[in-house]
Symmetry: C2
Subunit: 259 residues, 2 copies
């Protein structure tokens, strides 16, 4: 199994603090040492870093912890291989283009007997169930909506159906972003919190590090952090229910009933 | 205009020496300071780094110069914006998937009135002529060959026709790789050399750096370096003729007449 970390904000924010705790689980406080990856949206562009080294040993992970890359949508992943051997092409997150924008996807879980017909333009490069699921999602979205990105409500409805179809094959905790919003689906284990004014101090559970967010934010900043297991010991994390599909926009969960 | 650097080898080799000289041109010895990027194939996977900072100032470029990432196919680019504003989504190289493998593309030049009909699955995310050309190439290859990658001879023939069609619109120096071979097309300016046994010492023209390749290679290693302007002062570089499309495999140019 693997772990997921996502961030969705209303202003570009760096993920140094959360990634530092998260990366420690990649071979340090936990066993997820079969590679890691992170993707940052920056406008329409994506910075994509993947590595088949353990995150604790990776010089690229060191760079991510040192250089504050600001982004409104970030997805990160540390891998414990279940399906697919340890190789760069099997490291999450995966990136593909649809509707003239990049889509970033990462998955935690294990899909059994999941071999959807992939006869569209998206084919897996590696051999994970996860990349197969990502290609299937994009293929079906393109088939359903053609060449133009649909409304948020229509996209969310289509994803709801696709995610249920895939999750019938096993555990499908996943995150997906096209750069403006972040979707998160929980089969078994996912938590989130929203940091906003008044900001307070946060203490990492996996590393001897704290940050006083009131010193590094403005009153208008809002940041949602979504993660497999809570990253801090002194904040209140909300656990997803099994089957929840959540949509985060501008650092807040969106009530899907209002779409 | 921009500059291109490519490497194709028979065994995974790091590009630290060549990239160090090349990156110095990104705002140091030359004016290409509107971003840079590099992509390394590692098996079927790709490490992709892009940055809209000048290469000389970028902490990610520093990492590439410091950490020897080994690869058999590398494409790098430093950008002086002509079309498309300075933004991450406009930094080369671009990466897309076709036939279940990643393709990496970078372009130096300027295409006038180049607005091909893009009605397939590849749409530009940014607004450069270059990404438009890349999407067009992949669209046409997929249209011509369907879902299965053709033979090297068929692919090369198709690329020859596509490249001529695009180059009719202006300057089209470009590099393209699907991970096993590297194509390079010259409109105006491109040079290459092959380093092989007996290896010698090389002196960078843009930086106070030399390396004695005989100390860091085995007799079987072979490396082709392709670059806009020669990187070293004491090696013999071969200049491409205008219109040349070359294919490099295992560190050697392939005679296309033999395909």
């Amino acid at each position: 199994m693997c772990q997921l970390l996502g961030m969705n904000c209303n202003v570009p924010t760096d993920i140094v603090f959360s990634f530092t705790g998260f990366a420690t689980r990649g071979g340090g406080t936990d066993i997820h040492n079969d590679g890691w990856g992170i993707a940052f949206f920056e406008g329409a562009g994506v910075r994509h870093f993947v590595d088949h080294e353990a995150a604790v040993a990776s010089p690229i992970a060191q760079l991510i912890k040192r250089v504050p890359i600001k982004s409104t949508n970030v997805i990160a992943h540390i891998r414990k291989a279940t399906q697919g051997h340890i190789a760069l092409e099997n490291c999450h997150p995966f990136v593909r283009e649809l509707w003239g924008r990049y889509w970033v996807f990462a998955h935690n879980g294990d899909l059994k007997e999941f071999a959807p017909l992939l006869d569209g333009p998206y084919r897996p490069v590696g051999n994970t169930d996860s990349e197969r699921a990502f290609c299937f999602i994009l293929q079906q979205l393109r088939r359903q909506f053609g060449d133009v990105m649909p409304s948020c409500a229509a996209l969310t409805g289509a994803l709801r159906a696709l995610v249920d179809q895939i999750a019938a094959h096993g555990t499908f905790n996943m995150m997906l972003s096209g750069g403006t919003a972040l979707y998160a689906h929980c089969s078994t284990n996912l938590h989130y919190l929203v940091r906003q004014y008044p900001f307070a101090k946060a203490l990492l559970s996996d590393d001897d590090l704290s940050v006083d967010f009131s010193q590094v934010t403005t009153p208008n900043d809002r940041v949602a952090i979504i993660v497999t297991e809570p990253l801090t010991t002194n904040e209140r994390w909300t656990r997803f229910d099994a089957g929840d599909l959540m949509l985060f926009v501008d650092g807040l969960p969106v009530d899907l009933a209002t779409l």
